[in-house]
């Protein structure tokens, strides 16, 4: 509760606005709450088409869209050392004190964390997803993660299951990993003033229609439920490669009037789709946290979900019915949900969610992690290299080599473009003026003396 310092944080990830998703939302909302707490936050991501350069978002959030081309699934081309100059420039000009990387699958994040460590900055990493151990892609990514996390100051995971997964994949000591769950914007996700009435029970499904989200399970479950309960209707929102299977199922069982397919639903319209239903069905095969069920619970829907990953940790037992990822078990769970539906009060559920999940709470907890990270001791290159050597027989030596080259390149860059030549950007101070609305004041520019 003491007087904590003002941090200057750089959030790095390949995934940010204008793309929509869990990670993107997390970074944006966390940044907004940190700005409200008085810290300075700058976001760095790659350029999206024409959207390149510096942009400002609500609250004075500065975003750098660095013009590196994405090459695979929104990830920047990994060049190991290519991003060192621009990252160094941004860290110096914004006077950053701490770098926070998001998502293990983001190459920009890994590179930024590596360069930040070389330059002596403290580094925090948040992992948002669960990954496997067995297939080739996972093995390589886990090795990269091991490299990045060998020297990270602190790490954050979104659930205890995710913490276990990250610790096993990366070999990080568990004491360094904090669990800070995601939250939901309860102001936006409010239940309908009046519950959808009538004898019909509407079950809502909103997700990307991919294998990972268990669409194949839905294909088995929906016809079964429609057969057992003539008064049940389904609304399916979302798009993806597996949409075709759902369409086929509709045709095969003649469920065109029982199953409504909405296609891709923009995030702003998710609430209006949710409040038209009574039950929310989530059939994911793997999930580190699942914000979708939080949104549904905040709108007063009863949730039926597969018991995978971090899902059991998210909601209290009376707000969710869990099932194994198996069609028969899921049908039983839906039956149970339909039977307990009359006793559910959406407004009461929403009020409980307001107390349980709040982004400001997430920001305060993250601030504590930042304070701890900044208290970590500064280590010399040799001390850090010993941590990398422990990563494996061959991998350890390779990682050490990569870091030594990075260190040498950094020194070279310091000689070629000294830090004094990089101008510091003046801080934005947002001032509220009732007559003119919100205005910005670049205070340093208005002073008559020189900037430095």
């Amino acid at each position: 509760m003491g007087d904590s310092k003002r941090h200057r944080i750089l959030m790095v990830s390949d995934f940010f606005y204008p793309k929509f998703g869990g990670v993107e939302n997390h970074i944006y909302l966390l940044s907004q709450c940190l700005l409200k707490l008085g810290h300075k936050v700058v976001v760095m991501t790659h350029a999206y088409g024409n959207r390149s350069g510096v942009r400002y978002m609500t609250g004075g959030l500065k975003v750098y869209y660095v013009p590196w081309k994405p090459f695979l699934m929104q990830n920047t081309l990994p060049t190991f050392y290519g991003t060192l100059p621009i990252i160094r420039t941004i860290l110096i000009r914004e006077q950053i004190s701490l770098v926070h990387g998001h998502q293990a699958f983001s190459t920009l994040c890994h590179e930024a964390l590596m360069h930040a460590r070389t330059m002596g900055y403290k580094v925090v990493f948040t992992d948002h997803s669960l990954y496997g151990f067995a297939d080739v892609g996972s093995i390589h990514m886990n090795k990269v993660l091991q490299f990045t996390l060998a020297d990270v100051s602190q790490a954050i995971c979104v659930s205890h299951t995710s913490k276990e997964n990250t610790v096993l994949r990366s070999g990080l000591p568990p004491e360094k990993v904090y669990v800070i769950p995601n939250a939901v914007d309860t102001a936006m996700f409010k239940p309908a003033a009046e519950r959808p009435s009538g004898d019909e029970i509407v079950i809502v499904v909103i997700s990307r229609l991919v294998y990972r989200k268990g669409v194949d399970l839905l294909v088995e479950v929906i016809p079964e439920i429609c057969h057992m309960y003539p008064n049940v209707r389904f609304i399916v929102g979302g798009d993806g490669p597996k949409r075709v299977r759902l369409e086929e199922m509709r045709e095969k069982h003649s469920l065109q009037d029982r199953v409504e397919m909405l296609g891709a639903v923009p995030h702003a319209r998710v609430r209006s789709v949710l409040i038209s239903g009574h039950i929310f069905l989530n059939s994911s095969l793997t999930e580190a946290f699942c914000i979708a069920i939080l949104e549904a619970a905040s709108c007063g829907l009863l949730t039926v979900s597969t018991r995978v990953g971090g899902v059991p940790e998210v909601l209290p037992d009376d707000m969710i019915v869990l099932a194994e990822p198996d069609p028969t078990d899921m049908v039983q769970a839906i039956k149970k949900a339909i039977s307990i539906l009359p006793i559910i009060d959406p407004q009461e559920m929403h009020n409980r969610m307001k107390k349980l999940y709040d982004w400001h709470d997430v920001a305060k907890r993250t601030e504590i992690v930042y304070d701890r990270a900044l208290k970590c001791s500064n280590q010399s290159l040799l001390e850090r290299l010993s941590r990398y050597l422990a990563c494996g027989a061959w991998a350890g030596k390779l990682f050490c080599l990569v870091m030594i080259i990075d260190f040498l390149l950094w020194r070279l860059l310091q000689l070629w473009k000294p830090a004094d030549d990089i101008e510091v950007v003046p801080d934005i101070v947002l001032s509220h003026d009732e007559d003119r609305g919100i205005s910005q004041d670049f205070q340093a520019f208005n002073k008559d003396h020189s900037l430095r």
């Binding site: 101008e423 910005q440 208005n446």
Partner: protein
């Protein structure tokens, strides 16, 4: 009359009033400080290549044509690298008429662009991001043009030199100096 002067390792900024008793014209210039090292490096490498060619001729008995072609190549390269050197870029602000942007090259060439005062909507300072760096640039938003007009096309002076020029342009065009709006994004970013 020189009003103010700021300098750093590469550039120096000079603000002059052409006719001190009237507000007729203000010249803000960014001068590139003479750095011998680039010219020296270019000449040295050219000499090295020529020496190599001569050596090849003398020792390995290659024909004199090789030396001749290498010499021509050297001359072309030196001309190319040193010809486009900028000596000075300046902005002449004439409050009632407009703004003249000048680029003076070492070779004596001067390129001038004039923008009438009523065509300038607003001068802006914005940050340009490239794959390796980020720098400030001063641009003009011009009516009926899709792209911003860069005030300093070739040089990249530091922001402490750009700020007084920006303020002078704001005063001349009548836009408010303390900004109420976000700076616009530029196509160069």
């Amino acid at each position: 009359m020189v009003e103010s002067c700021i300098s750093n390792k590469i550039y120096s900024y000079k603000h002059e009033c052409k006719w001190p008793n009237s507000e007729a014209a203000d010249v803000h210039g960014i001068i590139v400080r003479k750095s011998r090292s680039k010219g020296f490096l270019v000449f040295f490498s050219a000499l090295l290549i020529l020496a190599n060619a001569v050596l090849l001729f003398l020792i390995k008995d290659k024909s004199i044509a090789v030396v001749f072609w290498i010499f021509i190549w050297d001359v072309l390269i030196v001309k190319l690298l040193l010809r486009k050197r900028v000596e000075k870029e300046s902005v002449v602000v004439m409050p009632a008429l407009g703004v003249q942007l000048e680029t003076h090259y070492v070779s004596g060439n001067i390129i001038r662009r004039f923008v009438p005062i009523d065509k300038i909507l607003k001068p802006v300072l914005l940050e340009c991001v490239t794959p390796v760096t980020c720098y400030w640039s001063l641009s003009l938003i011009v009516q009926e043009e899709a792209e911003l007009m860069l005030v300093f096309k070739e040089l990249r002076p530091p922001v402490k030199m750009l700020v007084p020029i920006w303020k002078a342009l704001c005063a001349a065009t009548g836009s408010e100096g303390s900004l109420n709006t976000f700076t616009e994004d530029g196509p160069c970013c």
